[in-house]
Amino acid sequence: MVHLGLTLVTDLAGAAILFPLSLYSLKAFRLTGMRVFAYLFTGFSLLASGVACRGLALLLALALGGPRAAASAMVAAATTISLVSETLALALIALGYHRQSRVAGTSVAVLLKGVYSVRLVAELLDIFLLIYILIHSASAYEESRSRLSLMVLAGFALLLASHVVGLAYVLTLSALAALLSKALYIAGLLSFLAVVVEVSRAG
């Protein structure tokens, strides 16, 4: 029950933080016409929609009270949607970075073929994609040395750590790993929240 409650809080908070990021990406795309922002917009929107969908399903299930078959099925379906959308979202963000940097290498699009609703596969894919994203955000920070890019780097690093611990949870079913994974996820989201606040102050 505590785990469900925590998931509900992180999902709703996650959606609240990720939607502004997708809005800024859209604003940037409309102003510059650069395709990389369209990838970021779609990626962050998918990420936000996935967690919002699971959060709302959990909220509804908790409101209905008790372990009802319909509620359980709804949460299970929403969780699957959320897992798939997260992997797709990360693939899109990685693809955006890939196109932006024009670095030769394995096309991230190939990774999309491996998307299944199995949590283990999803976690592994997410870790792989986040490593790719992290390398790009680290080189962006290396170049600019700005506080903002450091916050983005920290955000992705914490999301990666959350997924690594999440993988440990899938393998061991340890409650501590689940808790730590959520805590790292929240910390990552807070880092993105700091970016949103800083960007909204500019101008």
Binding site: S139, S149, V199
Partner: protein
């Protein structure tokens, strides 16, 4: 040296106009590092979009930022910050 995008050139012009308050063409020309022909084309485009306005001051033409231009620059600064955070060059 990297080639500036058209958007970057337009923003550079707007920033010069904003900094000067009322900017003469020659000031914009030096600040934006453009040829006269190209500058005239960009100024006409910015004027057409309502981001700057042409005024006559002491017998010579000056350009001032409109409210729409000011708003555009504010939005651009946010987008610039956002892009910088993700290591994206506009």
């Amino acid at each position: 040296m990297k080639r500036r995008s058209k958007l970057r050139i337009l923003v550079d012009i707007l920033r010069i106009v904003e900094g000067e308050g009322a900017a003469k063409v020659t000031h914009i020309l030096y600040g934006a590092n453009l040829s006269y022909d190209r500058l005239v084309k960009y100024l006409a485009e910015l004027e057409g979009k309502g981001l700057i306005a042409r005024r006559e001051r002491e017998g010579s033409a000056v350009y001032v930022l409109t409210e729409k231009g000011r708003k555009f620059l504010r939005e651009f600064r946010k987008v610039e910050k956002f892009a910088e955070a993700f290591g994206i060059e506009i």
